[in-house]
């Protein structure tokens, strides 16, 4: 399956955004993602949900998603409307979790300096390009190795394994 380009506005975050910031542990005992979504990023930035209404492509710095392995973190971001995350680097568990649930997590070394909050962005995974349409600047996305690309193309690990049956 081809991955369509994702077009949207940018929500800008910094370095070392941790999974406790994305969804505090005290809510994890409730299983429903819809209820968790109410609390997305509440410790980190109470205005986050407002910002997310307009801006659905997260652009961040280093080590995005560090800390706890909770898959609830990418799940609530996805459920809250995030379409893709472009960061200079990801914490490895968060990266795998995002890909496994079909949320594009893409590394771009110059992400932070190339986008501001509210800029229009076009993310083309097939061409490995992130374009700032507001500024007319295009930066490279780091290549995705296999099986990462295939899992993402399938729409996540559940669909990948259902189709393939095994590794």
């Amino acid at each position: 399956m081809e991955l369509n380009a994702i077009v949207g506005s940018v929500l800008k975050l910094g370095d070392d955004v941790d999974t406790d910031a994305i969804i505090p542990a005290r809510y994890l005992a409730s299983m429903g993602t819809s209820r968790l979504t109410e609390h997305v990023m509440e410790n980190f930035d109470p205005t986050f949900k407002m910002r997310l209404r307009e801006n659905r492509i997260i652009v961040a710095g280093r080590n995005f998603g560090c800390g706890s392995s909770r898959e609830h973190a990418p799940l609530v971001l996805k459920a809250a409307g995030v379409q893709a995350i472009v960061a200079e680097s990801f914490a490895r568990i968060f990266f795998r979790n995002s890909i496994n649930i079909g949320l594009p997590a893409l590394e771009a070394p110059n992400a932070s300096s190339s986008f501001n909050e509210g800029d229009r962005a076009r993310i083309d995974i097939d061409r490995l390009e992130a374009t700032n349409l507001t500024r007319g600047v295009c930066i490279g996305i780091r290549e995705l190795s296999e099986p990462v690309l295939s899992i993402l193309r399938a729409g996540g690990l559940v669909k990948y394994l259902k189709a393939k049956g095994e590794w």
Binding site: A21, A25, A29, E42, R62, R92, N100, L157, V158
Partner: protein
């Protein structure tokens, strides 16, 4: 090859591997707990799996929010118990029968040298203390392993941390690892394996080593490891478990080596709100605290309870401070009772509670109110980690936490050491 490379090669049936290669490995042990486990079970069923690949290779351990603090939490555990029963999983550690998962995996000999251990928890890397390749994953990945017994890995390059000298109390392995994180940074070892070696490590107990590997993930590392040695072999002999010893080759290729001398290391502390904001305890002495927490997968072992008791014995904690002590497992708890440590801790004013992760992640048994300050032996000090978003967490050794509980403010443990 390094130890990581050897384990990944063996588990993917290859003669050798090198950093950057993608390999699919057979998993020797999968750990689930009651918070990430239910989602893994849900996804397992969604994929269409009916039976787990090998029930004897799965450990289910309740630790995050035990005993259940509310109805939702109780329901999660109930759902996991039913999965355990349906799948005939014998390695099940319910409330009162185990303790913190990362402690149980090593304590019960489930994580073996040279094996691949995967856990649905980021601090699974703790098991690298006995020479396992141990990594944390999310719930969907865990579900795939439940069904297939396999997982893909990108072979990491290895960073070697060489610690010379000898660690002398009240300095502990916690001070060493905080120093390392301060130097490497919170993302300095991203995607890499971190191997601890050197004279100081060879003299450490398995418990002290677990504190080092536990915090590898706080530098971004995929895992932390220590070559099995005589201490490791003796440990498994005491458990009556046979092991296969794999170690890094003398000519293994490391991405870089960081050397430090433990004799030059002062008591260390990580200030809010990142784990790499590391400084000497003496630089923040005098900061008032409301709570002191001794426990967690980082520092809830006998070594920790002993050093804290040595400082607290015959003294009273500051009246403004509550000291929480959660031994990392029921076995440690019992040993601490037998050694007389618990009585002395209670006499000093400590609230000794059951093994759980609760306080460390603000779930139960010690959540912080607005603007409160806690000094903790745990491993994370992010915004709101232990409670309200305005609360603050300082990370330090068991000795520093005990000394600070006495003084009511952050205190160098050497002030109470004789």
């Amino acid at each position: 090859m390094t130890l990581s490379e050897k384990i990944l090669a063996k588990s993917s049936s290859r003669a050798s591997v090198s950093p950057g290669e993608i390999v699919t490995c057979d998993i020797d042990l999968l750990m689930l707990h009651e918070i990430t486990g239910p989602l893994a079970v849900q996804v397992f069923e969604e994929i269409g799996f009916k039976k787990v690949w090998r029930s004897e290779k799965i450990a289910v351990i309740f630790d995050h929010n035990i005993p259940a603090s509310d109805v939702n939490s109780a329901e999660q555990m109930k759902a996991m118990r039913s999965f355990v029963q349906k799948q005939a999983i014998e390695r099940f550690y319910d409330v009162g029968r185990g303790g913190i998962a990362h402690q149980i995996l090593v304590q019960e000999g489930l994580a073996k040298p040279g094996s691949i251990v995967v856990g649905a928890d980021s601090h699974t890397c703790t098991a690298g203390a006995v020479g396992a390749f141990a990594v944390g994953v999310g719930s969907t990945e865990a579900a795939a392993i439940l069904g297939t017994g396999r997982m893909w890995f990108k072979v990491p390059s290895t960073v070697r941390i060489e610690v010379m000298g000898e660690v002398k109390e009240p300095i502990t392995s916690k001070d060493i690892v905080l120093e390392v994180i301060g130097r490497i940074g919170a993302s300095g070892a991203l995607y890499k394996a971190v191997e601890f070696s050197g004279e100081a490590i060879s003299k450490m107990s398995i418990g002290a080593r677990m504190t080092l590997t536990n915090m590898a993930v706080e530098m971004g590392a995929k895992t932390g490891l220590i070559d099995p040695d005589e201490v490791t072999c003796e440990y498994f002999r005491s458990l009556n478990e046979s092991i296969e010893v794999l170690t890094s080759d003398r000519d293994a290729a490391y991405e870089r080596t960081l050397s430090l001398n433990s004799l030059e290391i002062e008591p260390k502390i990580a200030a809010p709100f990142t784990v790499d904001k590391v400084m000497d305890v003496k630089d923040v002495e005098g900061e008032r605290i409301d709570q002191a927490f001794l426990g967690s997968c980082t520092n809830g072992r006998l070594e920790d309870l002993r050093i804290a008791t040595r400082i607290l014995e015959g003294r009273k904690t500051h009246r403004r401070v509550r000291l929480l002590v959660n031994p990392a497992s029921m076995k440690i708890y019992k040993q601490a009772v037998q050694e007389g440590l618990i009585e002395k801790l209670i006499d000093s004013g400590a609230a000794v509670c059951c093994p759980t992760c609760g306080p460390c992640l603000g779930m139960s048994q010690g959540v912080l109110a607005a603007n409160e300050v806690c000094i903790s032996t745990s491993n994370r000090n992010f915004v709101g980690r232990m409670g309200d978003r305005s609360s603050k967490v300082y990370l330090a050794s068991s000795a520093t936490v005990a000394a600070s509980a006495l003084a009511g403010e952050i205190t160098d443990p050497r002030r109470f050491w004789n």
